[in-house]
């Protein structure tokens, strides 16, 4: 879950796209409108590691693996800007958010020439239900019934879910029944099964050098703008950017480090596509360990941290200030800007009031114990390391000593989230942490962060427990409409800001660099960054 979500790399990016579509305005607009190069014969994309055979069950990462899969396999719906619109389905019809009726588009064919039918959709739902495997597994367990009537598919859910189109319809790859019906071990699916209805056909795959994708000549849903996509595997970040400078590759799937952004921006043949990543960086308190079990202490420490300084210094400005209520201000669930709680004087006053008097070395003593705590940080994450150093300085201003322990991220996970099971407890004072975007954007996952019961709160790595918050979570998850959920989320945000189970420090901005002299059609789509259908296809939806 660390670092953009380990388990949540499962469908993280795709789900994210789905969930995100309602996100008002937050970076959905394409930046850097391409001057000129609207089409290209060939474009080379650099990825960091092999992604297997590019079937929906064999990609290795949510991003960019799942993004590549979705160029080969279409979904029923797709997130365009802030909206979920039909892709294979002509439209998404529902009255009660429980029964969804999906008339399919006509004339869509598989890469092998066979026609797409409604039975393929029914098959796909059942196949995904039976084979929830792989990095980007889609959870379709809420679909109680799926049936085909002519060219219309009907899905009935076990309870109303306004987030269903984003979470499932826009994430579930549709599979050809005539090829996949006999597949038993999806993890071993070969390239012969990488046959979808998508805009690109997988032409060639070599696990050392990469992939060749060619435009689907019969694509019915729009016009494909790039004829050939070469996908090169280049593990090293610095090598990718060097290759971009020399024109060896045309886009890097890695975020441009803030330190290099300005320099790349100044180069005339390099364009940058930017947007909000929605993944949150947090400072966790171990709520089960004194003195962090006292909300007043957590609030006081939160007030001592200047998140604006962190964004300006550690991210060089390429980030959004953390909202005290956790939810990204551009998210549809956000309650609105409540401002930063940063106030050193208030923090000092609150600690004085708690009876924490400074000792001889300037470190406060609370209940007989010096306020000196260990802060864990992932040694491979440069922005978190720098932020941890700044936090050490900020907390020393209020008489709290911080000792930083930088460790490899697996070791850190083992202390904060042993075996990814919060019921096993935790062993830390404070830790730097990150949740991937889907966690913030789905109300169900937000609830999992905060429920005191480990069964309902499997992501509650801070061991937070508060009856009022539990009640607010019940109210949120039982809402049947999107508007209802948004209103309930606002109440929840108030609770989170009040209780301060952690400090939401910032959300990093995404910035991806491409060669504008080869192809400049790259656009930003929340949750998918630049590598998605809208960057490469002129859809006719």
């Amino acid at each position: 879950m660390q670092f953009q979500g380990r388990k949540f790399a499962t469908s993280s990016v795709a789900v994210l796209a789905l969930i995100l579509s309602a996100c008002g305005g937050g970076g959905a607009a394409p930046t850097q409108p391409g001057a000129g190069k609207d089409t290209a014969e060939s474009v080379t994309i650099a990825i960091a590691s092999d992604e297997g055979t590019l079937t929906p069950f064999t990609n290795q990462t949510g991003y960019p693996g799942n993004n590549l899969v979705k160029l080969i396999f279409d979904t029923l719906a797709v997130v365009e800007g802030d909206e979920v619109v039909g892709l294979l389905a002509e439209e998404i019809e529902t009255e009660d958010n429980q029964t969804y009726s999906l008339p399919l588009r006509e004339g869509v064919t598989w890469h092998d020439g066979e026609e797409l039918t409604a039975d393929d959709i029914v098959f796909s739902v059942e196949f995904h239900r039976d084979n929830a495997e792989g990095d980007s597994a889609v959870d379709v367990s809420m679909i109680e019934d799926v049936s085909a009537n002519g060219s219309t598919v009907t899905m009935v859910l076990d309870q109303p879910d306004p987030e269903f189109p984003r979470m499932v319809l826009a994430d579930m790859a549709i599979l050809p029944e005539h090829l996949w019906a006999g597949v038993k071990k999806v993890g071993e699916a070969g390239t012969d099964l990488a046959i979808g209805t998508g805009p690109y056909v997988l032409d060639n795959y070599d696990n050392a050098s990469g992939y060749t994708l060619t435009a689907n000549p019969d694509y019915a849903l729009g016009e494909v703008k790039v004829d050939t996509i070469e996908v090169a595997i280049i593990p090293e970040e610095s090598t990718q950017f060097a290759a971009l400078r020399t024109g060896e590759i045309d886009i890097s799937t890695r975020i441009v480090p803030p330190q290099q952004l300005e320099q790349l921006q100044s180069e005339s043949n390099i364009g940058i596509v930017e947007g909000t990543e929605y993944a949150a960086t947090l400072l966790l308190f171990n709520n089960g360990r004194p003195p962090f079990d006292d909300p007043a202490v957590r609030r006081a420490l939160t007030q001592a941290i200047d998140t604006e300084d962190l964004v300006d210094t550690a991210l060089l400005g390429s980030g959004t200030l953390g909202s005290p209520g956790f939810i990204h201000p551009a998210s549809p669930m956000a309650a609105g800007d409540s401002g930063s709680p940063y106030d050193v004087d208030a923090a000092n006053a609150a600690l004085d009031e708690l009876g924490a008097k400074p000792g001889s070395d300037g470190v406060r003593v609370l209940d007989g114990e010096p306020m000196s705590y260990e802060l864990l940080v992932q040694s491979t994450s440069t922005d978190r390391l720098r932020s941890a150093e700044l936090i050490r300085e900020m907390l020393s201003e209020v008489g709290v000593e911080v000792k930083i322990s930088s460790m490899e991220s697996d070791s850190l996970d083992a202390k904060v989230w042993p075996d990814y099971d919060v019921a096993q407890g935790r062993n830390y004072d404070m830790s730097m942490w990150g949740w991937s975007a889907p966690v913030m954007l789905s109300s169900g996952l937000i609830a999992q962060l905060l429920y005191s019961d480990p069964v309902k709160g499997p992501l509650n790595v801070v061991g937070f427990s508060d009856p009022d918050t539990d009640a607010a979570l019940d109210a949120l998850t039982s809402e049947e409409t999107l508007d209802g959920r948004i209103a309930a989320a606002a109440d929840l945000e108030g609770q989170v800001a009040e209780q301060a189970p952690w400090v939401t420090l910032y959300y990093r901005d995404g910035a991806y660099a491409f060669r504008s002299d080869t192809y400049s059609g790259w656009t930003w789509q929340d949750g998918k960054s630049a590598l998605h259908g809208f960057s490469l296809v002129d859809y006719d939806l």
């Binding site: 390391l385 150093e389 300085e393 460790m407």
Partner: protein, 291 residues
């Protein structure tokens, strides 16, 4: 070196009186300067120097900050001075531990029973086959990056080579006429070591110490540069790590940001190498006899 003399014994004696020679002298002066710098950083700089922000990020050198500031606005000269302490402390601690380990293990292999000697020597052979740096990177990745752990890993990885050297020296010493004579008269191992061998073996520990310190400086800087050190603790390697992270080599700032720690590492290693080789030249019986 010094002019040829007829009798080897005399050569050895004069060399021993002039333990360092000119090159060793240069090395000693250099090292003293570096240690003095580290001591200054340790004793005279305020607490938190190099860790606290004192200016704007990425400042160029100025009167207030002679080497400019880093990406957080912290004084780079302070980091260099504090880093000297970190790097040298680690080097000397590890060198001391390694020397003791090598002396004990090498000594046991030299005078212990045959089976023990064989076991130790084959164990050393195995360790020598393993590439040190790779081993070190693996250990640092999995065991952690704190100062203590790094010191322990380095000491455990670096002892085999000096242990081998010391075993050879023990064997040579044990076959010396006066030691054999004493042994024939019934002297015990401990007495032999204390009375007849210590003055021959003891000085050999000096080059072992110096050379190990030199390797520690390099390895520690390498690991820190790769991000496997403690990136929040000022040291020369850590500074270079952040230089690379921040893409400083693409701008002029490398001159005052990467240059000084790089130079410091180089000078320290050169100083230790000068001292080490000149002492070894004079003390190692094998080297003397091959002349």
């Amino acid at each position: 070196m010094s002019a040829a003399t007829t009798a080897p014994e005399v050569v050895a004696r004069t060399r021993r009186h002039d333990l360092l020679g000119r090159q060793g002298g240069v090395g000693t002066v250099l090292l003293s300067l570096i240690v003095a710098t580290a001591a200054y950083g340790f004793f005279f700089l305020p607490d938190g120097a190099g860790k606290k922000r004192v200016g704007q990020p990425y400042e160029a050198p100025s009167g207030a900050h002679p080497l400019g500031t880093d990406d957080l606005g912290r004084d780079l000269l302070n980091q260099l001075l504090v880093g000297a302490g970190t790097s040298l402390t680690l080097a000397f601690i590890v060198a001391a531990v390694t020397t003791v380990l090598a002396a004990i293990i090498g000594g046991l292999a030299g005078i212990g029973p045959r089976w023990l000697s064989a076991t130790i020597m084959r164990g050393i052979d195995v360790m020598l086959v393993l590439p040190e740096l790779v081993l070190f990177i693996l250990a640092a990745t999995f065991l952690g990056q704190s100062f203590g752990i790094r010191a322990a890993i380095l000491a455990l990885i670096l002892w085999p080579v000096p242990a081998r050297v010391l075993r050879a020296a023990v064997l040579t010493t044990w076959s010396r006429a006066h030691v054999e004579a004493a042994r024939a008269m019934g002297a015990g191992q401990a007495w032999l070591l204390a009375r007849h061998a210590s003055y021959l073996l003891g000085p050999l520990l000096v080059p072992v110490f110096v050379r190990t310190a030199m390797r520690v400086i390099i390895y520690d800087a390498t690991l820190s540069f790769l991000g496997l050190g403690d990136p929040t603790m000022p040291s020369w390697g850590t500074t270079l790590y952040w230089v690379q992270v921040n893409g400083v080599f693409l701008s002029d700032a490398w001159l005052w940001w990467a240059g000084p720690p790089g130079l410091a590492i180089t000078l320290t290693v050169v100083a230790l190498a000068l001292i080490g080789t000149s002492i070894e030249d004079r003390l190692n019986p094998n080297l003397q006899e091959s002349r």
